[in-house]
């Protein structure tokens, strides 16, 4: 009996029958109420599939909101900090959004599907916040999270495999572009986007075709060593690529309970996302004030000596704690021990050196390691194929 029939607390995604079959380790985690694998067969091999061949991630649990109507662009421009008018039709843009206090609520991507028609993908459920934001705008907001199945196919041969299943000419698609193909009689939307910093695509399709899509990909991709990947392998890849993760690298404002635990985009190194030339967006006044008065924290990328990931480490300066690590991993391709950290201002200029207080356990024994580390400019993994158009063939 499959999980779909068992009625478990966590829901199966449209790909579940296939995912279950491939999930050799039976290592399941919860993502937005869905059950998805942490790992399928071996975290490092899954990671290497992303970097060397192609990795497939079931991202169906991602929250997807359709935003349409005459005021769709104006609505989004008030919602997010960046200028949405710069995202052309059939283009995708990264975006972050704040509450009135300028506190970071979430980050996500905006798909400009057609004139006055957008899809917002978010990490957090945003139904209520979007509804409040819709006051005064002529827009319709539809949570279509369950209506669309989605896979990420990431890695050097991703374009080749997708071409083999019918995405003719996909190699001409520019980064952050959207293209549409026919798959078994339905429209399959492909965007050149992802969370790995590599050449890669995300495929969006009606749930009824999910299993057929998976089967096609794994059949045509077999010779190219296509592999399914779980959230742990993705975690390594995204750290290497320098991507933030909501709830890990910052506390989304709506779920923060303790005062002072939220961060603003400016404090998360997202100032490039904040367009003060826009006359209004949620948090503008508060962020302008913070810009004038000074930041409390700075988000930094650290290169840590040694190979022990600095997970949950304190960051010390002259023996005094001035920061914490939010994400860390040994990154095999960059051959670096990377960490994302929040440090108190004025610390954190590129080149500044700290000490990471790392604890790790070997055969029950906890060891404390004081590892020197240094603020670097990122990201360390940034291959040309990520940007090349046409995408390199294999």
């Amino acid at each position: 009996m499959s999980a779909a029939e068992r009625k478990t607390m966590l829901l199966p995604t449209p790909f579940h029958s296939r995912v279950e079959q491939y999930c050799e380790l039976n290592d399941w985690g919860a993502w937005q109420g869905y059950t998805t694998p942490n790992s399928y067969f071996d975290v490092e091999l899954e990671y290497f599939a992303i970097r060397s061949t192609a990795g497939v991630l079931d991202l169906s649990p991602m929250n997807k909101y359709r935003i349409s109507g005459p005021d769709a662009e104006a609505f989004l421009n008030r919602l997010v900090t960046r200028d949405v008018s710069k995202i052309g039709v059939n283009r995708v843009g990264y975006a972050v959004w704040c509450n009135d206090a300028g506190e970071l609520m979430d980050d996500g991507t905006i798909f400009h599907l057609a004139e006055n028609d957008y899809r917002l993908c978010s990490y957090m459920r945003a139904d209520e916040w979007l509804e409040w934001n819709a006051l005064g705008f002529d827009v319709t907001i539809n949570n279509e999270s369950d209506d669309i199945a989605a896979l990420a196919i990431q890695g050097p041969v991703s374009c080749t495999i997708l071409t083999l299943i019918g995405c003719e000419g996909l190699n001409e698609l520019k980064p952050f572009g959207i293209a549409r193909f026919d798959f078994d009689g339905v429209e399959m939307m492909v965007s050149r986007t992802g969370f790995t910093g590599d050449l890669g695509y995300e495929v969006w399709i009606d749930p009824s075709k999910a299993e057929a899509l998976w089967d096609q990909l794994f059949e045509k991709g077999r010779d190219y060593l296509i592999k399914p990947i779980g959230s742990h392998a993705l975690h390594m890849a995204r750290i290497e690529a320098g991507f933030l993760q909501a709830k890990v690298d910052f506390v989304p404002a709506e779920i923060a309970v303790r005062p002072g635990r939220t961060r603003t985009p400016l404090e998360m190194g997202l100032d490039w996302q904040v367009d003060f030339n826009k006359p209004l967006f949620n948090g503008r006044a508060a962020l302008l004030k913070q810009k004038e008065e000074g930041l409390r924290y700075r988000f930094v990328l650290l290169d840590v000596e040694g190979n022990k990931p600095a997970e949950h480490s304190f960051i010390l300066k002259n023996g005094k704690q001035i920061g914490i690590v939010t994400s860390a991993a040994w990154c095999p391709t960059a051959k670096s021990n990377l960490a994302f950290a929040q440090v108190e201002m004025p610390h954190g200029a590129v080149g500044e050196e700290f000490v990471a207080e790392i604890y790790y356990q070997r055969e029950l024994q906890w060891t404390r390691l004081m590892a020197p580390c240094k603020v670097i400019e990122g990201p360390l993994f940034n291959p040309p194929r990520k940007r090349q158009t046409p995408a390199p063939a294999h």
């Binding site: 104006a74 008030r78 919602l79 949620n282 006044a285």
Partner: protein, 522 residues
């Protein structure tokens, strides 16, 4: 094109007061109002042939004496009638008279008299303390500046100076309901209800609603401001508007009546002016709105021009009133049983029992008509014969509880207004037999009507429920306190800002002081 220092939206009492204080300080001010009569809710209208009624507010009981003097309102024609005691009509005919601290009536015990004095004295002490807070902008608690801290300090000191007993009582009472407090203090049901009426007037609350001691203290502030009981304005309430208008004009304020502001204009990130119903665009350094917060942010500025959290606050701001009015033109003086001829000019109330008030509130929660009402009656033509043809009279009454929204619709086939009128007359007749035969013309006004005629959202003359969570440092809501919101160049000066509603004027005065203090017009 002329550019003003300030455009004030609304020529109600607060709008005119803000304008006058700004103009007094040398600022160039324009006031715009959709109505052709100045005064806002202090208005008079012709009613039937030769009759005039105050068609919205009917009493003055909170007007700040200081403002009256500073704006020379008496010189500009303001004449208040005599301070009126309250006569609480009882079905038995053994009426009570509440006059300042004194209480009389056949059914009143000595202990009630004593308790009434003590209760009033304590409430007066609380009101005096509250006035400290009313005379200034409400301090912010989190981002307090030095001014705010001084206010808080003075408030804290004031609280301490009242003594341990009073301080404990105030902390205990301010959030609870008037029903319990009345039962703690008094025996006579009519007395309890008479006091409770002052606690619920203009609100959507019953005697058992939490927060109704706070609203009572709010009303008591009127005494600390120099009012004794209630008074009528000679010539009708509109004469207060007239005096304010004349005073404002003397200060150099420009006034455009009969022209509505249709839009507050935001250019880039700040407010720069307004658009009028004529299509004219008028520019100013600041726009000050005496319209209620909902009208200001939702209708005039538009939710899309403020941040979403602020829009949410506006949308959740409670504005429904439960108060309507009854207007009657009468061919002669009605006779209320047990009330002497001259006493008909006092404030007459019909509020026999707090339980009846509470059950009167229940149906309106469910958008239904109530069958029991509470009346606050004025027969102004006795003291001011100009309001009616010789020998004839007008009666106006504030009537609780009338729903803002009615399930069947106010203009439905069922004739809801007619049904309400019939019910009100029936209740009135029990106290004034034969009044029906005197009626020349009649009218009921429901909250929705005030919204249409006076532009107050929810028909609420407080411009938003006067509850603790929407008062003082939280009025109208966090993010829009201290007379300003998150939009640069836009200020609030109406009853929706601190210290709130009734014809008081402090919101208008405080707003002007805050704008001048901020130096945005220098």
């Amino acid at each position: 094109m002329t550019k003003y220092d300030a455009i004030v939206i609304g020529a109600g009492h607060n709008g005119l007061i803000t304008s006058s204080y700004l103009a007094k300080a040398g600022k160039k001010v324009l006031v715009v109002d959709a109505r052709s009569q100045a005064g806002g809710c202090a208005s008079t209208k012709a009613f039937a042939n030769g009759f005039h009624i105050s068609d919205c507010a009917q009493w003055v009981h909170q007007l700040d004496d200081k403002i009256v003097k500073e704006l020379s309102l008496e010189m500009h024609g303001l004449r208040l009638g005599k301070a009126k005691p309250t006569i609480a009509l009882q079905a038995s005919g053994e009426h009570l008279t509440l006059d300042g601290d004194s209480l009389s009536g056949a059914g009143i015990s000595a202990s009630d008299k004593k308790a009434y004095k003590a209760f009033r004295s304590q409430m007066r002490a609380f009101a005096k303390l509250m006035l400290k807070l009313y005379r200034t902008r409400a301090p912010k608690m989190v981002d307090a500046d030095w001014g705010d801290r001084m206010t808080l300090l003075s408030l804290g000191l004031g609280l301490k100076m009242m003594g341990r007993k009073n301080m404990q009582d105030m902390m205990r009472l301010v959030l609870i309901n008037i029903y319990d407090v009345m039962n703690e203090h008094f025996e006579h049901d009519g007395l309890k209800a008479a006091v409770a009426l002052d606690a619920i007037t203009g609100t959507n609350m019953g005697p058992r609603s939490p927060n109704t001691v706070f609203t009572y203290i709010h009303r008591m502030v009127g005494e600390a401001l120099g009012n004794r009981g209630v008074s009528q304005v000679m010539g009708g309430m509109g004469s207060l508007g007239g005096a304010l208008l004349s005073s404002a004009k003397t200060q150099g304020v420009e006034v455009r009546l009969g022209e509505a502001v249709t839009r507050i204009i935001k250019t880039n990130d700040r407010v720069t002016g307004v658009e009028l119903s004529s299509g004219d665009v008028v520019e100013a350094t600041v726009v000050v709105s005496s319209a209620d917060p909902t009208t200001t942010y939702r209708d005039l500025l538009g939710y899309r021009h403020i941040e979403a959290g602020q829009a949410r606050r506006v949308e959740q701001y409670r504005t429904r009133s439960g108060t309507g009015k009854l207007h009657l033109a009468l061919s002669g003086l009605p006779s209320f049983t047990g009330v002497s001829g001259e006493d008909h000019s006092q404030r007459l109330i019909i509020a026999p029992h707090m339980d009846a008030m509470e059950t009167g509130l229940n149906p309106i929660k469910y958008r239904e008509l109530s069958s029991q009402h509470v009346f606050d009656i004025s027969l102004p033509s006795i003291e001011d014969p100009t309001l009616a043809p010789a020998g004839q009279h007008v009666l106006t009454a504030l009537v609780h509880y009338v729903p803002y929204e009615l399930k069947m619709g106010w203009d439905g086939h069922e004739g809801a207004r007619e049904q309400l009128l019939e019910s009100l007359l029936e209740q009135l007749e029990a106290y004034a037999p034969g009044i029906r035969d005197l009626i020349v013309a009649s009218e009921v006004r429901v909250p929705e009507d005030f919204e249409a005629s006076h532009g107050v959202t929810g028909g609420n003359w407080h411009h938003g429920e006067l509850s603790i969570d929407q008062s003082l440092m939280m009025r109208p809501f966090p993010g829009s306190t201290q007379y300003t919101g998150s939009v640069e160049g836009l200020y609030l000066c109406g009853a929706g800002s601190h210290p709130g509603g009734s014809l008081m004027g402090l919101a208008g005065k405080n707003a002007a002081e805050e704008i001048l203090e901020q130096g945005v017009l220098s």
